[in-house]
């Protein structure tokens, strides 16, 4: 009991010092770990209710991320880790997850496994047991497994691992009460898993290396460190090199011996052993009853269409195209209503002159309204429907169908997800590039994402070109954009150094999307808009009003007229429009209307000018929110390079388009 108290004090201390001091105090901290698609989001939603902030990424702010579970009088913080398959150092996610579990003295790690694929999931469970932290295994989706004729004896599994094993159906909330009890019990007793021995020849060597390790907290748990040393794990080798040269030398020797015996690298030997153990455990706790119906499973039937060489591509076009069209049709309606509603509270106008207070209040209000009328009607519905499609399992099929095409851009099928997200908002789309494996692939994908017309740019294309030229020219701009992404992507692939690796992706069965997962995913994507885009809009709104009041408009127009007038063939007043567009792309319409004093753009601009204007808006520098994200993800040099090259590209393409289109329009 005294231990218990000290432990809780430790938390208070940790919470009280450092940047996390503003976090609410908790009694226990728990993380969810497991493969992708096992129902981690659904579980955290069920445990913590809707009032939670899901941190799907263990970044710098993770101390405060996660939701709070109140159970038996304890406050328990629950943090979600990304879905990973192994603790190797293969991907950034794996590395970060492993460091997170090791460096934060967690009370409980909850390992969620898919009941239908116990063997593969147990591979990761075995790695978790090696970390020697209090562990609970949750066997989720037992209903889907039962439908496939698979039944898991969770008590037998608990017996094998020496910890609590809870069967659940998270999306229906089944097993959550038992899990909550198990969390408190495991946290209080600090129930550690029983070490699962490897085969004799490996286990003996682990023992020898463990014995050579000094009792240094940096190298604990010793067994885990010994195993990683035998696997030649570069990070652990570096760490142990200074503290325990003897153990490192011995581990190298033993690894070589194992490699001589098996003719494979030691890391592969240990993975193989682990799978062998997982297979044995799975077989002993799993009962497979033959299914009566010999029908082809539904998933296979859908896949015959979704992965068909012709119909499959048509389906992708219909689903994504339909999603976009529908979003913008209903979005326009909601947006109009919202603007009317918010304008009635206080007028919205980008150019306010007057006192400093007026500039602050009206400029800020205008920015706030602009953000709200973009995020609420367009971005949220788009991501909501997209998350539903994603949760159904269909996005993985799109990835599979387009994988080969993405190779030409140095990317692979999974990169299609950030690109599609880009049609909503560039900010979360850039952040989602983290799902890619190598630095080169992340950068390439994020760069291409900035070229995709986000909803703000789509609004510009629709209200300038579709309204005043015709819908076909608007569609032509989209088709041109896709071609541009392919060509620029191809060039960037050649220009950027680094490695590209091929795709290996799990293909989940199709299922009906769960509301809680879809909502959580939508929020995970939309929250970056609230934190980054909304403040940028408000501050930008103030800055624009300030620039207007200070009389900066004419000097800006004059300075930019060589580009706007001579190269692009646009009126000089568009200079300031483009400058303000850096804050947010759709403000270009408002500014345009304000400088011309009319919203009937066809009366002041020719069709060619309208098309050139939309084209340049689509391509030139990303908005400041995107630049901000780019700097934090890739550094300011790369962000500056992207902004400069896209601006140059937009001017060149605009100048060429002006001259070509003038010939026949």
């Amino acid at each position: 009991m005294a231990d218990q108290k000290r432990h809780r004090m430790g938390h208070r201390l940790r919470d009280a010092v450092g940047p996390a001091s503003s976090c609410p105090l908790v009694d226990f901290t728990v993380v969810l770990a497991g493969n992708a698609n096992v129902g981690k989001s659904a579980t955290i939603n069920q445990l913590t209710g809707s009032e939670q902030v899901t941190g799907n990424w263990p970044g710098k702010t993770v101390e405060c991320a996660g939701g709070i579970l109140q159970h038996e009088g304890y406050r328990i913080r629950i943090i979600d880790l990304p879905g990973i398959y192994s603790f190797s150092t293969y991907s950034a996610e794996e590395k970060i997850s492993r460091e997170f579990i090791l460096s934060n003295h967690l009370d409980v790690v909850i390992n969620i496994v898919d009941a239908s694929a116990l063997e593969r999931n147990l591979f990761f469970t075995l790695q978790l047991t090696e970390l020697n932290v209090p562990l609970i295994v949750v066997v989720n989706q037992t209903d889907l497994a039962a439908a496939k004729g698979i039944f898991i004896d969770t008590e037998a599994l608990a017996e094998r691992l020496g910890i609590m094993v809870i069967p659940t159906v998270a999306i229906h909330g089944k097993g959550m009460a038992a899990l909550s009890d198990a969390i408190v019990q495991t946290a209080k007793n600090r129930t550690l898993p029983r070490p699962v021995p490897y085969g004799k020849e490996v286990e003996d060597r682990i023992g020898q290396v463990t014995a050579l390790l000094p009792p240094d907290p940096a190298l604990s748990p010793a067994r885990w460190t010994a195993i990683r040393l035998l696997e030649n794990d570069p990070d652990v080798l570096r760490l142990a090199g200074d503290h325990a040269p003897k153990a490192v030398a011995a581990a190298r020797q033993y690894a070589r011996e194992l490699e001589m015996m098996h003719g494979e690298p030691s890391g592969v030997i240990l993975s193989g052993e682990r799978y062998h153990i997982a297979e044995r455990i799975a077989r002993s706790v799993m009962e497979i009853r033959p299914l009566s119906a010999g029908n082809i499973p539904v998933s296979d039937r859908i896949d015959r269409l979704a992965l068909h060489p012709v119909a499959g591509y048509a389906l992708i076009f219909l689903v994504i195209g339909g999603l976009l069209v529908w979003t913008f049709i209903i979005g326009a309606g909601i947006s109009e209503y919202l603007i009317a509603l918010l304008s009635s509270i206080s007028p919205v106008h980008p150019f306010v002159a007057g006192s400093v207070t007026d500039i602050l209040v009206f400029g800020g209000w205008t920015g706030l309204v602009a953000a709200a009328t973009l995020i609420v009607p367009y971005v949220v519905p788009f991501y909501l429907f997209l998350s539903a499609i994603e949760d159904s399992g269909y996005l993985t099929r799109i990835s599979m169908m387009l994988d080969q095409g993405m190779h030409r851009l140095g990317l692979h099928g999974k990169a299609i997800i950030p690109l599609i997200l880009g049609y909503g908002c560039t900010v979360p789309a850039c952040l989602s590039c983290r799902i890619l494996e190598t630095g080169k692939q992340k950068l390439l994908a994020a760069f291409l994402v900035t070229l995709i017309p986000c909803s703000a740019r789509t609004i510009v294309i629709l209200s300038v070109v579709a309204t005043f030229v015709n819908i076909w020219w608007a569609l032509a701009l989209y088709v041109f954009n896709i071609l541009l992404v392919i060509i620029v992507g191809r060039i960037a692939f050649e220009a950027v150094d680094g490695e590209s690796v091929g795709m290996i992706m799990e293909m989940p069965d199709y299922h009906v999307p769960s509301a809680s997962v879809v909502l959580a995913q939508t929020w995970a994507r939309t929250k970056s808009l609230v934190w980054i885009v909304l403040p940028a809009y408000i501050i930008g709104g103030v800055a624009i009003s300030g620039a207007y009041s200070a009389g900066l408009l004419d000097p800006i127009n004059a300075a930019l007229s060589p580009v706007t007038v001579i190269l692009l063939g646009l009126p000089a007043v568009t200079g300031v429009v483009f400058v303000f567009g850096i804050v947010r792309k759709e403000i270009t319409i408002l500014t345009l209307a304000a400088v011309f004093g009319t919203t009937a753009f066809s009366s002041v601009l020719s069709p060619v000018q309208l098309i050139v204007f939309a084209l340049v808006t689509m391509i030139y520098t990303p908005c400041i929110s995107t630049i901000f994200v780019f700097i934090s993800e890739f550094g300011w040099k790369k962000a500056a390079a992207v902004a400069a090259s896209e601006t140059a590209l937009a001017i060149i393409l605009g100048a060429v388009a002006y001259r070509l289109l003038s010939l026949f329009l």
Partner: protein, 236 residues
């Protein structure tokens, strides 16, 4: 029959068989640019030596022995093509003919050294899969790290996952590539001796979908090229 001529015939039959099922005399004659009469004579000769099954008027198919020889020659041909293209930068239009002449004189030792220098390539410059060598090893790491030991020769034929048909399966026996590739695959449960089966291939040389350990994985075709299985003989 000279060795070079024999290998050329076996190679031609292998190619035609892959395209058309059975190699007809006329097809072989066209492929090798010789008279049909000399093809008939050569096929009788090959049949006596046990390389082909020959039915007059119908055509020829390779026997197990013939298939083994054809794959060996093909492997050398394609390795040489990679060498000529990537290292010597020979012009594309000459690469095939050059490799055709060189392939018959290549020793086992040179073949092995070539494979090592080229870091065990998986496809030739024209995109055909290169059969791995027939040594009894689970992966290429020993060879590539320079700690090569003489290995026994493999007895069973092995097939790349990319070449399986939907519904076909087998046991993983060999993974071509360096340690990183092998480790990544083994962490996902694709270890040697694992049973897998091919579900389908995506169109346009896209990824293949395989069933392994009760889950389905989509794998890049270039990675699947390097996973080899001993196929399970199909159940009747």
């Amino acid at each position: 029959m000279a060795l070079e001529q024999l290998e050329e015939y076996v190679e031609a039959i292998y190619d035609i068989e892959e395209r058309e099922g059975t190699a007809k005399t006329s097809s072989i004659a066209k492929c090798l640019k010789v008279a049909p009469a000399s093809v008939t004579e050569a096929l009788q000769n090959l049949s006596e030596k046990g390389y082909v099954r020959y039915e007059p008027y119908h055509g020829a198919t390779l026997t197990g022995q013939g298939m083994e020889l054809a794959q060996k020659v093909k492997r050398r041909h394609r390795l040489l093509e990679v060498f000529l293209t990537d290292i010597l930068k020979i012009r594309d239009e000459n690469v095939h003919d050059e490799a055709c002449r060189m392939e018959h004189t290549l020793s086992d030792e040179t073949e092995c050294a070539l494979c090592k220098m080229l870091r065990a390539p998986s496809r030739c410059p024209h995109g055909s899969l290169i059969q791995p060598c027939n040594r009894e090893v689970a992966d290429c790491t020993d060879c590539l790290s320079g700690e090569e030991k003489p290995s026994d020769l493999r007895e069973e034929p092995i097939v790349s996952v990319s070449h399986l048909e939907p519904g076909q399966g087998g046991t993983i026996t060999f993974i071509r590539g360096d340690q990183k590739v092998v480790q990544r695959l083994s962490d996902l449960g694709l270890t040697v001796k694992t049973v897998i089966s091919l579900i389908r291939k995506a169109p346009m040389e896209g990824p293949v979908e395989i069933a392994v350990r009760r889950t389905k994985l989509a794998i890049d075709r270039a990675i699947a090229d390097n996973i080899f299985v001993s196929p399970v003989v199909e159940k009747a």
